[in-house]
């Protein structure tokens, strides 16, 4: 028996599910190891996952079988019969494959944790596959799973195209009903996730990360649907502004010929993708800059006062006056020289800084950056050995510091005079290179030696490692070592003298102004006062140049998107030639016609630009909050730094609009040149 009823709501639902499958499969494949790990720790998560996933797939299966029957009842040779058959068959197959492959993954996870038969009804249902594979070696599982994933991806891709082609077989009114249902569900989901889920995950908690990801995804889909729903009313409001906007908006809303519609969609997408790319890259580069600035400002003073060729004596009054300057919140003296540090196993060059442990924390983050040992040990070296087992937080260096190595490295005999040995703080990389832990003995060789019979003899002195710091900047962690200022002055034969004064200010952006205030306040021509921007000029200059280069390179991508806007508008002008002729015959001046088409191009550009910026915002927001992990061994950064800058968003938006504006000019001019007589003569 055949029936001629049009396809209904459920076919629309199946199409919707079909479109969603590919995204689901890819997302699942990308995060499968995460699931695997998560379920090792959390039994309940696994059960929830299985129940949720199986419900979706089972309903897909049921729906597919239903539609398959429906397709069988369609009259032979009727339009789209084969497509509906294909859609339902493929989605049924897909549901089965997905269920089985997820079953394999979960079963493998269960097996590897020794829970082969343990579990709930759901685990029995989806762990069924274990009966088949129980005899096999576990090595087969990954291969099998990857095979299944590939199969899944292929079927999901087929499903995507079939869904897209079947979608338009469903009558418009039923499709609208589908969207209404979808939107209502979406609004409810949005309200629920906004109410109960966190926006940013707590550090190191996978479950909260997942919840935050779900919230952001739902919010994004909600925003997209909302924007799509608003397009119609917005264009209608736009029409009411004036004659030219009315014509432009109406042209864009009108049904177009296939090629023009495709070209219009493509140009919106091209603008969107290119502006999204640009803003994402700029945000990451801004993130690197912000990260670098933070590290530089944390490890360095904001302003340094020193002399070019000699050390400062009689510096206490200077320090006092510096502290009293407006905007200065901390100042500390330092004495600096390059030395050689040698341990039992190795040696390396370092910049040795004598610091005042009492005031250094007013200026730099050294105390905060300590991963082993304590800053106070510099003053009181006797306490180092009392607490040579670390009490402070553990850092990345821990892996290196295995117990065996520690005992091997601490080879020197410890006589009673060692108690008086002064403390030395080194960076993590130097500690790693020299194989040092807190409490180890090192020898520091200074170039400022005594004069011996055959020339200067370097001065050496033993120190004990009082602490290890991690600043996050390789250069500092590899090259810097700190000792007490008084010890340094004695060791370097510089009693009463310092290299300079480090200053911290309340607002880093005001550092140059405060520096010039200091110059006038101190009133000494022989002093050199430099702020952090001056000191790191080359670094920031290189970063700025790199960013500019990126902006230009990716700006070219926007330019190419502009070409597609150009093409679309040229086509549009061709298609609207007759109407332009009518408008001109009725007395529209040429510049009016130009404006109409410029507005149309700008609307296309604005739609694309807003889409791109929105997408870029979601991407960078997600990267900023959820973090993209990076290998710290390679990049010396553990997370991809991202910094969202509203000015950059505005800049990218503005350049998108400018490019689109430029792209509209020529087609608009062409439209204005249409002669009504030519346009109206032939029909």
């Amino acid at each position: 028996m055949t029936e001629r009823r049009p396809l209904g709501f459920w076919t629309a639902v199946l199409c919707g599910l079909g479109v969603f499958q590919l995204a689901a499969v890819l997302a699942f494949a990308a995060t499968s190891t995460l699931w695997f790990q998560a379920q090792l720790e959390n039994d309940l998560l696994w059960v929830r996952l299985v129940i949720g996933w199986s419900t979706i797939q089972l309903s897909l299966l049921l729906l597919s079988v239903g539609i398959l029957q429906r397709a069988a009842r369609m009259p032979r040779g009727s339009r789209g019969r084969a497509r509906v058959f294909g859609l339902s068959a493929v989605s049924a197959g897909h549901a089965v494959i997905t269920t089985v492959s997820v079953g394999i993954l979960l079963w493998a996870a269960r097996v590897s944790t020794g829970h082969v038969l343990g579990g709930t009804v759901a685990s029995l249902l989806f762990g069924l596959t274990h009966l088949v594979y129980d005899e096999l070696d576990l090595d087969w599982v990954p291969t099998l799973y990857h095979g299944a994933t590939m199969l899944q991806t292929a079927s999901a891709a087929m499903l995507l195209s079939l869904s897209a082609s079947c979608w338009f077989l469903v009558p418009l009114e039923r499709r609208q009903r589908f969207w209404l249902g979808f939107d209502v569900a979406l609004v409810i989901a949005f309200v629920v996730v906004t109410a109960i889920l966190p926006l940013s995950p707590t550090e190191g908690d996978d479950a909260s990360l997942l919840r935050a990801v779900i919230r952001v995804s739902v919010t994004t889909v909600f925003a997209v649907r909302l924007a799509l729903r608003l397009v119609g009313p917005l264009l209608a409001a736009f029409e009411r502004i004036g004659f030219r906007t009315m014509i432009a908006a109406r042209h864009l809303r009108a049904k177009k010929t296939g090629f023009l519609a495709a070209s219009g969609t493509l140009s919106v997408l091209a603008v969107a993708v290119s502006s999204c790319m640009l803003i994402s890259v700029l945000s990451v580069m801004g993130g690197f800059r912000a990260d670098l600035t933070k590290k530089i400002l944390g490890n360095n003073a904001h302003i340094v006062i020193d002399k070019v060729y000699e050390e400062l004596s009689d510096w206490e009054p200077l320090l006092e006056r510096t502290r009293q300057t407006e905007g200065v919140i901390g100042a500390t003296p330092y004495l600096q020289v390059e030395v050689m540090v040698s341990s039992l196993s190795n040696r390396g060059g370092a910049i040795l800084r004598g610091i005042d442990p009492d005031t250094v924390s007013d200026v730099t983050d050294l105390a905060k950056n300590m991963t082993h040992g304590k800053l106070e040990y510099l003053k009181d070296p006797g306490r180092i050995l009392d607490s040579s087992v670390d009490t402070t937080k553990s850092g990345p260096v821990d892996a290196m510091m295995e117990e065996a190595e520690r005992t091997a490295a601490r080879g020197l005999p410890e006589g009673p005079e060692e108690e008086a040995m002064p403390g030395l703080i080194v960076g993590q990389e130097l500690a790693r290179a020299l194989r040092l832990v807190v409490g180890d003995r090192v020898t520091v060789v200074s170039p400022r030696g005594d004069l011996g019979p055959s020339g200067p003899i370097p001065r050496t002195r033993p120190f004990r490692i009082a602490g290890i710091f991690y600043s996050g900047m390789y250069e500092y962690d590899m090259k810097h070592a700190y000792i007490d200022l008084r010890t340094a002055q004695r060791f370097l034969r510089a009693e009463g003298r310092i290299s300079g004064i480090e200053v911290k200010v309340d607002n880093v952006e005001h550092a140059p102004a405060i520096a010039s205030r200091l110059v006038s306040k101190l009133g000494r021509d022989d002093l050199r006062v430099r702020d952090w921007k001056q000191m790191n000029q080359q670094l920031f200059g290189a970063l700025a140049l790199e960013k500019l280069a990126m902006f230009i390179t990716l700006g070219i991508a926007i330019l190419i998107a502009g070409f597609s806007v150009f093409g679309t508008l040229t086509l549009l002008v061709q298609e609207k030639r007759r109407e332009v002729g009518i408008l001109k015959a009725m007395g529209t001046p040429a510049r009016g016609v130009i404006r109409i088409f410029i507005i149309e191009g700008l609307l296309i550009g604005a739609a694309g630009g807003l889409m791109g910026l929105g997408l870029g915002f979601v991407l960078t927001f997600a990267a900023e909050h959820f973090g993209i992990r990076m290998n710290p061994e390679v990049y010396y950064i553990d997370k991809l730094p991202v910094h969202l800058d509203p000015t950059e968003f505005a800049l990218v938006g503005a350049s998108t609009v400018v490019v689109c504006l430029a792209a509209t000019l020529f087609p608009a001019y062409q439209a204005s040149r249409v002669r009504p007589v030519d346009a109206l003569r032939y029909d």
């Binding site: 004036g242 004659f243 009315m246 109406r250 042209h251 809303r253 009108a254 007759r578 109407e579 002729g581 009518i582 408008l583 001109k584 015959a585 009725m586 007395g587 529209t588 001046p589 040429a590 510049r591 009016g592 002669r675 009504p676 007589v677 109206l680 003569r681 029909d683």
Partner: protein
Amino acid sequence: MRFGTTDRARSMPDPLVTLQHVTKTFEHEGRPLEVLKGIDLEIERGEMVTIVGPSGAGKSTLLHLIGTLDLPTSGRILYEGKDVTRLGSSDLAEFRNRSIGFVFQFHHLLPEFTALENVMMPGLIQGSRRLEARARRLLDEVGLTDRLTHRPGELSGGEQQRVALARALLMEPKLVLADEPTGNLDSQTSASVQALFFDLNRRHGITFLIVTHSRDFAAMMPRQVSMKDGRIDSDERRAQPLENQGKPT
């Protein structure tokens, strides 16, 4: 614009339109093609003039020149004594918008807009939205009260032509130019559209210049200009122009 009996009292006012030695030459495959070979014509206010003649006689070209859609190769076109061939393009557009209404054979309505919006279009071009009441009244007058929100695609040929006529009248033009307005309508619809022309001329004193192939329609017109081979062959007036019956609009 007022059409009134006072015009006659004045000493020989300028005619509404005056054409002086107008020629038009097109370039066709590198050779000049003379379509109009010197036209002299005067059209008075409130006249109903028809131009007839075989295909290729230059009727449409002449209509386009009078409508300032195209410029003559030589000669002058005067509206009330003013030479419009010397106006700049935006002045010309403004002049066209305010003074001339067009009705084309293929009506040429904008497909994306409703009947009402199409009629309002000349006013919208001026940025004026206050003409909606007038547009409604005009549509009412051409008998389309219940078709206001229909798009051209949803209207019949006769209805479309009447919308086009209402549009041509919106700005109260001095002159309405019609290029075969009944060319693709059946005889009954043609008759009703033609009746509408005469009615509007009688009631509002609007000047019509109509190009037509229809013998019946041409025979009804008070003045008939027949063209042949780019020249005016004959210019016959069958009755007095109807200007005296015009009343202020």
